[in-house]
């Protein structure tokens, strides 16, 4: 059955009022992730914006069990949770490791790669706001070419981001997917599907960041949609090696109406110093990746 706003789990696991910034896409994404898991989850979270969302002792905004773990250790912590539950014979609970792009692309990639290679039985979600936003917007391995950040303050970043989902797919794990906070139903369905699969599972969730990217906080959904409409983010899933475009990305592919990347970049203050050359380079990167996705997709 196709998910819609009516048949989605009604219960909320993220309580109203948390410490994230106005217009936070993570807050929106996390709400739907927890709904999809219906509370049958143990969460491990490293230092990140999500730590802030979870609140300050002795008050929390979430109603699921959670352990905070050091920055580099998210996937190892999840491995430990799975091993401990197995040792004690406890079944039926999804272990969710959820970290930002700094905690995934950079400091956490060693532990994540190893856990994926070991096929440890948990769902890893990277929410990607393309920088170290919790520490005030420094560049990460996911910050795009040309973006201004706390540590690329004048010239903007001189390198493009790494494709973390492709890296994770190369581990040969049973399920990888991309999602976007602006498409909560697609995200919800992917988490529900991942929940039923055993082994290491990875979902990349694009979460626009109003203060970090310099756009009005009322525009979070719009920026997330523009990212998909221009191909900066492509919504897909790879299940046992079978590649499918999903949601808006599938529609765009069928209608062949990808918009120019410039439209997405120009909405954000972080790209105010980007050069024409860099825009062309990014557009080329998008075009290559988009073509590869069209070639691979079995559902067009």
């Amino acid at each position: 059955m196709k998910t819609n706003a009516v048949n989605m789990t009604e219960k909320e696991y993220l309580l109203p009022g948390n410490r994230t910034c106005p217009g936070c896409a993570l807050s929106l994404a996390y709400r739907h992730i927890l709904k999809a898991l219906e509370g049958q989850v143990i969460v491990t979270v490293p230092a990140s914006c999500l730590t802030v969302l979870h609140g300050m002792y002795p008050v929390t905004s979430v109603t699921v069990p959670c352990v905070n773990t050091p920055f580099a250790s998210t996937a190892a912590s999840a491995t430990g949770l799975v091993a401990g539950l197995k040792a004690l014979g406890k079944e039926g609970v999804t272990v969710l490791a959820i970290a930002g792009d700094g905690g995934t692309h950079d400091i956490g990639i060693q532990a994540l790669s190893a856990a994926a290679e070991r096929q440890n039985d948990f769902l890893y979600i990277c929410y990607d706001n393309e920088g170290y936003m919790n520490t005030g917007n420094q560049r990460s391995g996911s910050t795009p070419l040309g973006a201004i950040s706390g540590t690329t303050p004048i010239l903007g970043k001189q390198q493009n981001q790494k494709d973390i989902t492709a890296i994770m797919e190369a581990h040969g794990i049973p399920y990888v997917a991309t999602a976007n906070a602006s498409y909560p139903l697609d995200l919800y369905e992917k988490v529900r599907k991942a929940r039923m699969i055993r082994g290491a599972r990875f979902i990349h969730v694009f979460t626009p960041c109003s203060p970090g990217w310099s756009f009005p906080f009322s525009d979070t959904i719009k920026i997330g949609k523009l990212a998909v409409e221009t191909g900066w983010v492509i919504l897909y899933e790879v299940e046992d090696g079978i590649f499918r475009l999903t949601s808006a990305s599938a529609s765009i592919a069928k209608r062949d109406n990808l918009r120019p990347l410039r439209e997405y970049l120009m909405e954000q203050g972080r790209f105010k110093n980007i050069t024409e050359e860099q825009i062309n380079e990014l557009q080329g990167w998008v075009n290559t990746r988009w073509k590869r996705c069209l070639d691979r997709a079995v559902n067009l």
């Binding site: 509370g39 352990v67 430990g80 401990g84 040792a87």
Partner: protein, 411 residues
């Protein structure tokens, strides 16, 4: 060989084991449920042996071959959070790489047990023994126990779980690389049923469970804050106080557990350090780990020469038994402390602790500190004797304390 001791433990087998295999046997007998480790010399045989136990079905545990020591301890802390008994082992750079997680395990009050096979730290590379690795981690909030021989390794690991799970502080069982880890000696291996009588199953203080959701290790401010029910809850500083209090109070538990172990297995550990002929000694040699055994040989030689020499072999380094040490040294006029570690710019770590223990006591002994055995440098009993003789000259000078330690090396 099977010995039967009717009064105490029902069955004892004496095996010829090196230190690493003694450690692995202790882990197996403790019915550990989750093991995570990464290879490093000279620790690797511990985890190889454990993986063999698991693959053969002799130990019902989850064995996780992680990609780093940082992850090894992260696996253990999280598995402990859901209620599993956990173990890891490492050495040297591996322990250094765990540093962040060592703090985390203690801060979260998780009763993880870790075997540290003591090895030098680079640069330059050196795989041989000293105690710089575990000494460098002394302020992470772990209880540290040092074994003098392989029997103490297996016994200490079994006791470590009982201590850790009583006081909710992780325990590091340290033993010298190669000197013990790769040296075979007779070890009494207790029967499983007797260890089961001694060590009850782990009762976790936290359980991550969707039926009773709780958030652990949240951001915690310096000052106490009220929760949703209006109850004032601890701030960060109160939580740190409780960890210190747990270590302060753990002495009682360590001694009780050591006594209970002795009652059952005939080898009592009801003290924080080993004493050898301290009753009449006015000269005391202090050493920790296997060096304490060498010190006994040196004491024998000095006794033959007519000196009243005893040995204080430090067993528990954290919590440091200040009052016990001051009491044990009360008759001494000379204390010679040998350290297989150095706090650069000061002196050996155990020397600093001994001096701290004696401040304000009636003891006015001359204290001399010698740095020995770094990077596997052989330490001979003869050298300890020479160091004591040299120190005796200082007693005549009345020079109680020296600015810096002496080194037994070729500079």
């Amino acid at each position: 060989m099977i010995l039967v001791n009717k009064k105490m433990a029902r069955k004892v087998s004496t095996w010829i084991l090196d230190g690493n295999h003694a450690a692995a046997q202790g882990v197996k007998l403790s019915r550990v449920q989750v093991i995570a480790a990464y290879p490093i010399t000279p620790q690797s045989p511990v985890t190889e042996t454990l993986s063999e136990f698991v693959e053969r079905g002799e130990l019902d545990a989850q064995y996780i071959a992680v990609e780093s020591e940082h992850s090894a301890l992260a696996v253990c802390t999280s598995a402990s959070m859901v209620g599993a008994r956990t173990f890891t082992a490492t050495s040297s750079h591996g322990l250094a790489y765990m540093h962040e997680m060592l703090h985390w395990a203690a801060g979260a009050r998780l009763p993880v047990v870790l075997a540290c096979v003591n090895r030098a730290i680079g640069a330059p590379w050196n795989v041989l023994n000293d105690q710089q690795d575990s000494i460098s981690q002394r302020d992470t909030g772990w209880i540290q126990i040092y074994a003098r021989n392989n029997q103490e390794i297996i016994d200490s690991i079994i006791q470590a779980y009982k201590i850790a799970e009583s006081v909710y502080v992780p325990v590091m069982v340290c033993y010298d690389g190669y000197v013990l880890s790769h040296t075979e000696m007779p070890v009494d291996v207790p029967a499983q049923e007797d260890v089961d009588r001694f060590l009850p199953p782990y009762k976790p203080h936290t359980i991550l469970d969707p039926a009773n959701p709780k958030n652990y290790n949240l951001v915690t401010l310096a000052n106490p804050r009220v929760n949703a029910e209006g109850v004032l809850c601890h701030g960060y500083m109160e939580l740190r106080y409780l960890l210190q209090e747990a270590l302060q109070n753990s002495r009682e538990t360590i001694i009780r557990v050591g006594r209970e172990f002795g009652e059952l297995f005939g080898r009592s550990y009801a003290s924080m350090f080993w004493e050898d002929r301290l009753d009449d000694a006015d000269i005391v040699i202090v050493a920790m780990g296997s060096l304490a055994m060498e010190a006994i040989v040196a004491a024998d030689m000095l006794r033959e020469a007519g000196y009243k020499v005893g040995v204080l072999g430090l067993r528990v380094f954290r919590p440091f038994p200040k009052a016990d040490v001051a009491k044990a040294l009360k008759k001494s006029r000379l204390v010679v402390i040998f350290d297989k570690n150095i706090s650069y710019g000061l002196e050996g770590a155990t020397c600093s602790e001994i001096k701290s223990a004696l401040y304000g006591s009636s003891v006015r002994a001359v204290i001399r500190n010698f740095i020995v055995g770094l990077g596997g440098r052989d330490v001979k009993a003869r050298e300890l004797v020479d160091a004591v003789n040299k120190s005796l000259l200082s007693v005549k000078e009345g020079d109680l304390n020296k600015e810096y330690p002496e080194w037994i090396c070729d500079i």
